[in-house]
């Protein structure tokens, strides 16, 4: 698209005092940033706060983007960090003692009409997984960021991203318990894990803390 000016150019223009350039950056990235924060925190008000903090930080730091990391990488990093801060500050008891099969909870998203029942369950279960695991799953599995970009955003080695991804997925599956849908019939493009893999018994639901199990 001809009107798609590169982020780096917009950042440069913004740093030079071009108001509209920063407005374009906000418009371009707000949805992705908001959704990252929403999945990380599970609450719209926190997601809104984290989104605003991320962009305000970007505004303050415009001059330091010159020739450094990509704007999007930086923006995602600041967003994740803002979420970590919010989660630390607002340690809410419901996040710690909920189990997926407990009584119905108020939906984490303020707009449940837009969510399927499953996505509400998934969002709730995500909050039972450790922040570090959750971050890699949201960035990679939900937002389709490659391992390498996730590593840059979180400033951890790629191997760590992969390990966290695997552990996080298993932890999330266990947190979802019975609500995790069975595997779809068609194998898709993914390789079959093993020829002996038939439909398996779902494992016993385990405690959320099991996500940190040692291997």
């Amino acid at each position: 698209m001809s009107h798609e000016e590169r982020d780096e150019d917009l950042v440069r223009r913004s740093a030079g005092g071009d108001r509209s350039a920063f407005g374009i950056l906000v418009e371009r990235h707000e949805r992705r940033v908001f959704n990252l924060a929403l999945r990380m925190t599970g609450r719209e008000e926190d997601a809104r706060d984290a989104t605003q903090e991320a962009f305000l930080a970007a505004l303050r730091k415009l001059s330091s983007f010159r020739g450094e990391a990509a704007f999007t990488t930086w923006l995602h990093r600041v967003t994740v960090n803002a979420c970590y801060d919010l989660l630390r500050k607002r340690q809410r008891a419901p996040l710690l003692d909920r189990l997926p099969d407990h009584e119905p909870e108020p939906p984490p998203s303020p707009d449940p009409a837009d969510l399927t029942a499953l996505s509400i369950d998934v969002q709730r279960a995500l909050l039972h997984v450790s922040d570090d695991y959750r971050a890699v799953m949201i960035l990679h599995d939900v937002q389709d960021q490659p391992y390498e970009e996730v590593a840059r955003i979180l400033r951890v080695p790629v191997g760590t991203v992969k390990s966290r991804l695997h552990r996080g997925r298993v932890a999330l599956a266990r947190a979802l318990g019975e609500t995790l849908p069975a595997r779809s019939a068609e194998p898709s493009a993914r390789p079959e894990p093993s020829e002996s893999q038939g439909p398996r018994e779902r494992p016993e639901p385990s405690a959320p803390s099991d996500e940190a199990k040692s291997r």
């Binding site: 005092g17 108001r19 920063f22 407005g23 906000v26 707000e30 908001f34 999945r39 719209e44 605003q52 991320a54 962009f55 305000l56 505004l59 303050r60 730091k61 001059s63 330091s64 010159r66 020739g67 450094e68 990391a69 990093r77 600041v78 994740v80 960090n81 803002a82 970590y84 801060d85 998203s109 837009d114 969510l115 499953l118 996505s119 998934v122 969002q123 599995d141 939900v142 400033r155 191997g159 992969k162 390990s163 991804l165 695997h166 552990r167 997925r169 298993v170 999330l172 599956a173 266990r174 849908p181 595997r183 779809s184 993914r190 390789p191 894990p193 093993s194 893999q197 494992p203 291997r215």
Partner: protein
């Protein structure tokens, strides 16, 4: 049993090369725990990929735009939030680059260099290869690909310096690896050595930058000089040192 944990995510994602896949397949033949995890992961990945993208509500970023407008209308407003930052910004706005030294400056007596730059030297000299005894707060070393041999860039640097002092969300969340903290101390010592007795215990290091000066690698130390014995009122001083710790340039401005 050792589990190929780093490979399992890629196995589920289908991103492994053939040899890696073979390793995992062999492992899965004998490891029921991993087979189970791969099964669970595969199901979870499908679910996560289907999570809906929520639309943003109108006005989500209104505070950001409001702040943007405020800065556009009053570019200096935000700088007054921090007292010293205000001083630094004022200095940046009217900074007089009283001296732009050349590499040969390194051989001059430090006090003479300082007086050329409008600095008020204390007269206490600490000659020799060691850095002067000054009390400096260690700050991270920033790495920039900028050549500060250009006077206007030095001025822009002062603007950035004020920026740095604002509430830094990034730093609050996690360390910033683009800063080479391991080498910050060496860079700080180098700048201090180059500055010689132009530095005193009343000087506070506020930024430390690794960049270039006239094409050569250089360290820039930005100091805030607070009132003290035998000193002028606050001033901003930027010392530019070569990697061999020779003074390349400096700029100062009484606030």
């Amino acid at each position: 049993m050792t589990h190929p944990e780093e490979l399992l995510a890629g196995y589920v994602d289908g991103t492994l090369i053939e040899s890696e896949r073979a390793v995992v397949n062999t492992h899965l033949e004998t490891c029921e725990a991993c087979r189970e995890e791969v099964e669970l992961s595969t199901r979870v990945v499908t679910v996560l990929a289907e999570l809906p993208d929520e639309p943003v509500r109108l006005g989500l970023t209104s505070p950001v735009i409001a702040e943007l407008d405020r800065r556009t209308a009053h570019p200096a407003w935000w700088r007054s939030k921090l007292q010293w930052a205000a001083g630094l910004a004022a200095a940046a706005a009217a900074i007089a680059l009283l001296a732009v030294g050349l590499p040969h400056l390194g051989g001059e007596p430090a006090a003479e260099r300082a007086s050329k730059g409008g600095l008020t030297a204390t007269g206490s000299t600490v000659p020799g290869p060691t850095a002067p005894e000054v009390s400096l707060a260690l700050v991270p070393l920033e790495v920039q690909h900028v050549d500060y041999g250009d006077v206007s860039k030095l001025q822009a640097l002062a603007d950035q310096s004020a920026d740095r002092e604002m509430n830094d969300l990034e730093a609050a969340g996690s360390p910033t690896p683009s800063y080479k903290t391991a080498t910050a101390e060496a860079a700080m010592s180098c700048v201090a050595k180059a500055a010689g007795d132009g530095l005193t215990s009343n000087d506070t290091l506020v930024r430390l930058i690794q960049a270039k000066f006239q094409g050569k690698p250089a360290y820039l130390g930005i100091y805030l000089e607070r009132p003290g014995p035998n000193r002028q009122p606050n001033q901003v001083v930027i010392w530019v040192a070569s990697k061999a710790c020779q003074l390349l340039s400096f700029a100062s401005k009484v606030i």
